[in-house]
Amino acid sequence: MKTSTCFHCGDSCDNSAIVFDEKQFCCNGCKTVYEIFSTNGLDCYYDLEAAAGKTPIEIANKFDFLANQEIAKKLLEFDEEGFQVVQFHIPNMHCSSCIWVLENLHKLNSAVKQSQVDFPKKQARFTYNSEALTLKDLAILLARIGYEPTISLEDYSAAKKKVDRSLLYKLGVAGFSFGNVMLLSFPEYFEVQEYWLDQYKPFFRWLMFAFSLPVVFYAAQDYFISAIKGLRSKLLNIDVPIALGVLTLFLRSTADIVFDYGSGFFDSLTGLVFFLLVGRFFQQKTYAYLSFERDYKSYFPIAVTRITKSKTEETIEIYDIKAGDRILIRNQEILPVDAILIDGKAQIDYSFVTGESESIQKKSGDKLFAGGKQLGGVLEVEALKSVSQSYLTQLWENAAFTKNKSSEFQTLTDAIGKRFTIAVLTIAILSSAFWLWYDPSKALNVFTAVLIIACPCAIALAAPFTLGNMIRIFGRLGFYLKDTNTLERLAKIDTLVFDKTGTLTSNSGNTIIYEGMELTDDEASLLKNTLRASNHPLSRELYSILEDQKISTLDDFKEQTGKGIIGEKSGHTVKIGSASYVGNADKNKSETAVHIVADANYKGKFVFKSKYREGISGLLRKLRKGYELVILSGDNDGEKKRLKALFPFEMPMFFNQKPEDKLKFIQNMQSHSNVLMIGDGLNDAGALAQSNVGVSVSEDINVFSPACDAILDAKKITLLADFLALSKKSIQIIKASFIFSLCYNLIGLFFAVTGQLKPVIAAILMPLSSISIVVFTTIAVNYYGQKINSQKNEKSKI
């Protein structure tokens, strides 16, 4: 059979391709989107990028809560005179076709007046006529074409965040002043004795003074604030010598022009601040579309359907849920509170909450925990607690979630800053003491000159540029770090803790192995046809891997929820289900298996084993050489043997770990080591927050990942060892550039101590050292980055 790919989304169509308009589609959803696009003249979507689409998901009543005026009001940015403006987060957008179709939404619905996409943030803002289109309809329209907006509690509770652009302003001010001051100080560089220049000297100088004012008092204010903060907590961070340098530069230059000693160092001053800010800007690489701060709130829906006493349905915010409320949970919806199941077939997927790999069936009267996802039909549950008191959400009360890892960590730059400041002050005092004795008129001159020339501009730039560059390289390879501080912490890691489900194993699909007697053709056909009728996830999975059989109608089919199924055809029966259901006393309770009995004879079982990520064994083998490795799983120990076989070396493994257990475990380890935690679900959230570096592995980086310091694309997990090695390399590069910049400082100090520091020397030395450091770090980082890139390519060739 020829496999074809879907014209809309590019997935393979298997044998069930739907042919429409001479094109093949994998499902009805994709076909519908195509139909919508083609009838509205939006065919161009497919020309921009082939197979650009995403399969739309079932929406049913998902957006009902948007009809609630209270909720809608909080989401809307503007609502007046029949117009509404709303901004949606649309994680599905991924290419230029997406931008195009979203910005041409008015062709699909004329009520949409304007739509604008912010691609890096994966957001779109829609302006529409609220009389012709409601917020709910807009969300449904987007979901129908495969761009489902995610509306989570997060957007809802947080007040609209103001974008912080102050760094850009400061950079603008510093750049503006730097340019103008350079221009104005040019005549003095050449020391020409020319009548006109001498005539206007004071004017030029005071103009430079005026330009430097906003630089000192506005653009450089962060350095002063940070230095004062550092001094208050008795820390000599790198900002102390910087602030000291800026202040000395300004005072000395002002004194110079007031008493007509010289032209002052305004050029160096503005240049210094400008370069420092450029470094800071460069360091500020953020992945606007990724969120590293998410907690359960972004996972939960905004609202649920409550059944009132009079048996009517109403939509309420989840914060309004009280114990005792009856709530409706639909297919694929997340249960927001701990509850008791009243009615309906519950098939709850807890993998995200507990790390258990298989979904669990529950019957009426069972307790359900918040965070579970219903797979299947509609449930009616009764809430036991309110949202914030639920089992899962209480995890966030732990202190691990409030501490700030960055501020507790002393960066390399700050560590150097302390020694540097002491050294500079010592040199300044000693040399001015010497000059006091030798030639007192020059003492103050020398003292200020030392502070000026020793201003650690190059040192302060080394880390931002090295780490900033490295973060960009990591990002290109699929490893997204929250900030540069994380990279420095990464270099210090000596212990790696892995979660199992979703981290070592892949979320998509199991390996299914058959153990037992061979099935006859008739039995195989009956088995497949019986499975076809069942909706249980294991049945669906098994069905999809079994060989194709002729579809035939069963004479009889029975399904016993939570146990198994029976199918009957022309006198033969097949019983499929759990060990107890088929009457087999299987000892191995911890494995997931489906047992088969044909006509009262036990045939065998299909064992479901989670699929380990490709190359994971090789990765751990490689990491073992430099790091201590631990596996921490929330699942049962059914996989222990396989893990042992996969990783044939000494490695501690712990099973049945609850979220708090994981957190405590990490805490204990931290007493003697720096721990990196790699996990994927909400159950790892505590451990991720507690660890020195928490890395969350995600199959789709846009969708959801718990709060963490870094997000790793699941496909790139095998590169982890390289990332760790690169982080260590970056620290080496920073150290090398420290030595480099110290050499510049020594040269400058020579001029300063001997009392011959001219503004022009400072004006040359300062930018020269800064620029050479930037060039050095950029080249070094890209050299190592290139290496890992070529390694990766070689691997893929093999």
């Binding site: 003249g41 020309d47 230029s96 912010d118 006109w196 103009l207």
Partner: protein, 63 residues
Amino acid sequence: MSVIYVLLTISVCVAVVFFTAFVFSVKKGQYDDSYTPSVRMLFEDELIEQTTTSNNQNKSETE
């Protein structure tokens, strides 16, 4: 008045004009999203006609 004052005034004024232009563009959010406009400018305004295929296929991939 000496010509140097005139020239300096002009040069500073020009610089200030550009500086304010920069501040305004930041304030209006022009630097918030530096990617989407680069894609948007490549789209044609009238896409309802079915004949635009050849133009658009040359477009490089964006990711």
